[in-house]
């Protein structure tokens, strides 16, 4: 089985030009999303996960700017498309689900109206066709009595139900890639599990590939096919889910995993906090918190080192010295 790459990010760099200085929110990252995969981007708050997602959608707002890189979807570099063409890609080929379902719906229109609106954004069809389709979509994402609830307003829905509506809107035009930015974080645990199941079910049904952003390694272990570990705007480690979780290489990934409550009940936190990104530490950005820090880590930025064909790590512990 040879997996086909559907979305490829190459050397993406996104900076924010603030008054205090330039913030490299996403600093030279590359990864591939395979067709039908669920790729999880994991990292602490502020590690650049959301900016990565927004960069892919080209929705980074001023003062942020994508400096360089390529985002290749269906042999097209999204960063070279005209704004009009990009607008056509959004929703049609890539769609995005946001973190907080409570604010992701317009409070003054019925949910049916909003799903219909999302359909008519790209498809030319009559109002009736669109609203029939909207009802089907609502049914599909698991909203019971979707015909009746079609005419309800967002405030009459629970958080989990709202998130289902948001997902229905994202699916309106059958995008090939769905980016979900912590879609379950604002929901309680039982609902989280339902939403995760829904994502997996919809992936099968719509043959989608999903980029799932989260900081919850528990979620990752359940749904991820591959993992990208981000820290302070850089990729620390990436690979197939089983490799990264079972045999983490990077000290940061190891640290993250040891932060999880284990059978022994012992939680080992990573000391320190994520650095400010205006004057980031030189060399490896993780070195001030790293337990295995070496002299070279303070001087040079470690390159991506290949462990296996699918497992890469950015750490001098595994070579990558310039001789």
């Amino acid at each position: 089985m040879t997996a086909e790459t559907i979305l490829s990010i190459e050397n993406l760099k996104t900076c924010f030009y603030t008054k205090k200085g330039i913030v490299k929110a996403v600093d030279d990252i590359s990864f591939d999303l395979l067709k039908g995969d669920v790729l999880c981007i994991v990292g602490e708050s502020g590690s650049g996960k959301t900016v990565t997602a927004l960069s892919i959608m080209r929705l980074v707002e001023s003062p942020g700017k994508i400096i360089e890189g390529k985002i290749i979807l269906d042999d097209e570099n999204l960063l070279e498309l005209s704004p009009e063409k990009m607008q056509d890609v959004r929703g049609n080929k890539i769609a995005m689900v946001f973190q907080d379902p409570h604010s992701a719906l317009n409070p003054i229109f019925t949910i049916g109206d909003q799903v219909t609106e999302a359909i008519t954004a790209h498809q030319i069809c009559t109002k009736e066709e669109a609203s029939t389709k909207a009802t089907q979509l609502l049914e599909l994402v698991g909203i019971p009595m979707s015909k009746e609830r079609y005419h309800d307003y967002p405030h009459q829905f629970s958080g989990g139900m709202k998130q289902r509506v948001v997902i229905a809107m994202a699916l309106a035009c059958h995008p090939g890639v769905l980016i979900a930015d912590e879609p379950a974080t604002a929901l309680d645990l039982t609902v989280q599990a339902q939403i995760l199941d829904l994502f997996l079910e919809l992936r099968e049904r719509f043959e989608m590939s999903i980029i799932y952003i989260t900081h919850d390694l528990g979620v990752v272990s359940e749904i991820a096919d591959s993992i990208v570990v981000m820290y302070a705007g850089r990729i620390m480690e990436k690979g197939r889910s089983i490799d990264v979780l079972e045999a983490p290489m990077h000290p940061y990934t190891k640290g993250l995993i040891s932060c999880l409550p284990s059978e022994t009940g012992k939680i080992v936190p990573i000391p320190g906090a994520i650095p400010g990104l205006i004057n980031p530490p030189g060399g490896c950005i993780f070195h001030p918190r790293c337990v295995n820090v070496m002299d070279i880590c303070r001087m040079e930025r470690p390159p991506m080192t290949k462990i296996t064909d699918e497992h890469y790590v950015s750490c001098f512990l595994y070579g990558g010295f310039n001789v």
Partner: protein
């Protein structure tokens, strides 16, 4: 329950606002159908000039051909002219009703124009931001600092006086407040998730403006409209009062202007349009205030 029904319930609970609304509805009905039941507001009849309203009387010296001089008579209001007549014997009730048409027309059209311009300028200013925002807002500032009445006088002086011109000039100068308000509301709306989410699903700028941004500012726009209608009505009356109104129409300002010379002998000519202006303006104001309260989510706790 949908939102319109919810707001309807809330506004119904507000007595003063309902009084204001009732008066406005009555006024609109009168202005629409009244002229079919009254005598012509321009019909001159010197034998019945300066008649007081019913229930009042006034002493007036009138010329009598019989005696060849002025004689003093006590005039009483008669049923044919329930609100009296002016110095040329024209029926004041007919004039006031025709004036109501003018005032409402000016109030609604000028405010409508101002709201549309203000909403478009405000929403584009906030949504597109950057240089667009700076240019539009500086322009708004300039318009705001312009002495409005002076500008109106200048326009009327230059282009002559017609009702259309008065409506246009009030509308074209009165949008600044709306622009500011809509801009500030849009600024907070545009970063809301549902706007970003809509963009992420490929919605165009126009779609976002007309589906997400403007509908979410509609509450403020409605309140602002009901509060700026009296402003427009007063502006027209003020222009007419200083003699720059449309001489072709019997507007309240025109009647006021005509009546000010007769205050000694026939006070009702000036007082009646004054009362109408006062009642209309205060009705719109209390209705606007009531709407503001009904739309205010913080009002729930009361």
């Amino acid at each position: 329950m949908n939102m319109a029904a919810y707001y309807r319930e809330r506004i119904k609970g507000n007595k003063t606002a309902m009084i204001g609304l009732t008066f406005i509805i009555l006024l609109i009905l009168t202005a629409l159908i009244g002229p079919f039941f009254t005598v012509s507001p321009t019909e001159v009849n010197f034998s019945e000039k300066n008649l007081p309203p019913i229930g009042f009387s006034s002493e007036q010296s009138i010329y009598s051909a019989q005696d060849g001089g002025l004689i003093l008579t006590n005039m009483k209001g008669i049923l044919n002219h329930p609100l009296g007549t002016d110095g040329m014997g024209r029926d004041l009730m007919a004039q006031l009703i025709s004036g109501a048409r003018v005032s409402l027309l000016v109030g609604l059209l000028a405010t409508g124009l101002a709201i549309i311009i203000g909403a478009i300028i405000g929403v584009s200013s906030a949504y597109f931001g950057g240089i667009t925002d700076s240019i539009l807002m500086r322009f708004t500032d300039i318009m705001m600092t312009f002495p409005f009445l002076l500008l109106l006088i200048l326009i009327v002086y230059m282009f002559g006086s017609s009702l259309t011109l008065i409506i246009l000039s009030i509308g074209l100068t009165g949008w600044t407040g709306t622009a500011r308000l809509v801009r500030s509301e849009t600024l907070s709306l545009r970063t809301r998730d549902f706007v970003v989410a809509s963009k992420a699903l490929g919605a165009s700028d126009l779609r976002i403006i007309f589906y997400h941004l403007l509908p979410n500012t509609i509450n403020s726009i409605i309140v602002l409209s009901s509060l700026s209608i009296p402003g427009a009505i007063l502006a027209e009356a003020a222009l007419s009062f200083i003699g720059l109104g449309d001489p072709q129409v019997a507007s309240w300002g025109n009647i006021l202007n005509a009546g000010q010379n007769d205050l000694q002998t026939a006070w009702w000519i000036a007082v009646e349009p004054g009362i109408m202006l006062f009642l209309t303006v205060i009705s719109f104001n209390i209705l606007g205030e009531g709407l503001r309260e009904a739309f205010d989510p913080k009002g729930d706790s009361k």
